[in-house]
Amino acid sequence: MALEFHKLTDQVEKMGQDLASQKEELDGKVEIAIQILEAHADPAFLPYIQDRVADAVSKDAGYRGARPLDEPIMNMIPPAPLPETATIIATDGSQIAPNTHGAALYYLLNIGTIVVNHGSGETPEIISQPYLFYEPEYIYTQDKGLITAGTVSARRTVNEMAALAEHAWYKRDEVRPMLALFDGSLLILGIGADVPDRDQLYGIYFSAMTRLLEVNAGLCGYIDRPRSSFIVGLLHLLDLPEDLVSRATLATNGRIEGLHDLHVFETILQPGERTPLFVQMSPQNKDFRRSGGQTHEIVFFYMNVAAPDERAQLARIEIPMWVANDRQFVGELQALIYHQCQQLMSRYPYVLTRADELAVVKGDETKQLNVLIQVALTRYGLDSTESGKQINKNSARSRKTRFEVQQAK
């Protein structure tokens, strides 16, 4: 017995009660947020809003909210007509992290890609590419420590972007528009100081983005059920008198603290519609602009991917500035993403679902790979035993036999 559920029932009950009371509180805050939005809905307010953001930035007040790019903040925009033909590419990755108790130290990245010739009626192309890393320069840091799971994860993310760029390059002569769909935020945050090849990874990532720019691919990062509060941050800023803007007052979102952007827009956006374009005012985005140029700065919008008459389901879509600069292109990408989301009842893009399925390494496959490695080690006269801890883990987690005690009659 691993989890004793009877000890959890009271805690789960309390969790439900607490979340219900939080929901009531949030509903009140949503009304306030919408009032602020509506108060600044007039297109004439756009320069004022942008000035307020510039003011907060100039005061170095730690503003992390959004800045409207060039569209009035209450303009909800429907998608363009669905393109009859298009090329859609999506990638995703998975990993097996290094296991110090295994027979050998290694890690594996597996990148799945799907290419759909939208509107052709043709069978999509699928690619699954595994990469095995065991050389010391990949496994250890400079001070001989083992790399962290975060490092493997960062390398996986960069490989995903590289694969997306590679396939977009191969398909550069295919029909347009081209949607290059990336799973997650384009602003990669996972490359921390613990990653030994941090700078190199950023270099590969930006090169891949540049290659996508060169083939004019519609790069989109798809974030399902986003928990971000960039627009809530903006609304809080607009709610503050100008002379009160400071690090202290921007440390929270004041009377709308706790609200996420999706709480605000799920009541506003109709199926298929998107919000105006916003720029995220984060140091990461600043780095992107500095390293990749203005074309690589990340812009975002929210869109409702639910079908008509369904409860709103919001996604945050991140696009680089080179895509944002062509609003017809943005509309077509919005239409293609919406169409992809209508393929599945979960309203998640079909191509990302398939890329994930192509990439994922299941537990059984990890076991098979480990056996394969053990066989190879044995063949070359090397020690192929796992640690005692690993052997016991395998035994304890394997299929259990139930022994029943017969009751005495």
């Binding site: 999509p124 699928i126 169409h339 209508q342 393929q343 979960s346 079909y350 399925e357």
Partner: protein, 207 residues
């Protein structure tokens, strides 16, 4: 030209002497039909063959397919991706009706051993089907098999077996099969009536 019985239609998943289950890709669905006679090898000796009747052809779902079924705007590309790329095997059951022994004789009895996992399953050619259904001893195996739609399966097989024979033999074949069924099912008129109605030679020309 490659004939349909030269290429495997499926591969064995699970087996026993009384029958086996097999799996195939969705692209094989057109080659399969309820009541067909199929064969698979139980061992390495190609002379030894197990014969059976195909029934319970089914396609399982998975959570992704269920979502696609409920969505209303599934594109042609998505359907093709699902059918041609994803592992969604057509599964089928086969009831053993006989085997070919090492002397080359077809025996209408349970085989000495079942086909092994991943053994290829082939359709029988018309001449082999005629040979396998030359006698009716296999009726008892089909009619007494638990969990099998016996009359439906036997009838489907007999109609197919008749079609592998020359036109002037088809009527007599079905009449003889009906007589044998009547002998075996004399104590169960409902089943017999059902079977005879299914194999009644409406379309067979009587000379």
């Amino acid at each position: 030209m490659t004939k349909i019985w030269d290429e495997p239609i499926a591969y064995v998943l699970r087996s026993s002497t009384s029958g086996f289950s097999a799996g195939a890709g969705l692209n094989q669905i057109d080659a399969l039909a309820f009541g067909m006679i199929v064969k698979a090898q139980p061992g390495s000796d190609p002379r030894e063959v197990v014969y059976g009747l195909l029934y319970d052809i089914h396609i399982d779902d998975d959570p992704l397919v269920r979502q696609l079924v409920l969505a209303e705007a599934v594109s042609e590309e998505t359907i093709r991706d699902q059918r041609q790329h994803r592992i969604a095997p057509v599964e089928m059951s086969v009831i053993s009706i006989g085997y070919r022994d090492l002397d080359g004789r077809v025996r209408q009895a349970l085989p000495p051993r079942p086909p092994i996992s991943l053994a290829p399953v082939f359709l029988c050619s018309d001449s082999e089907s005629r040979e396998v259904t030359r006698f009716f001893d296999y009726f008892r195996l089909v009619l007494s098999a638990p969990g099998v739609p016996s009359e439906q399966l036997l009838a489907a097989n007999l109609v197919r077996a008749a079609q592998t024979r020359p036109a002037d033999e088809q009527y007599d074949f079905l009449i003889e099969a009906g007589r044998e069924a009547a002998r075996l099912l004399s104590g169960d008129m409902a089943r017999l009536d059902n079977l005879l109605r299914l194999i009644y030679p409406h379309n067979v020309v009587v000379e």
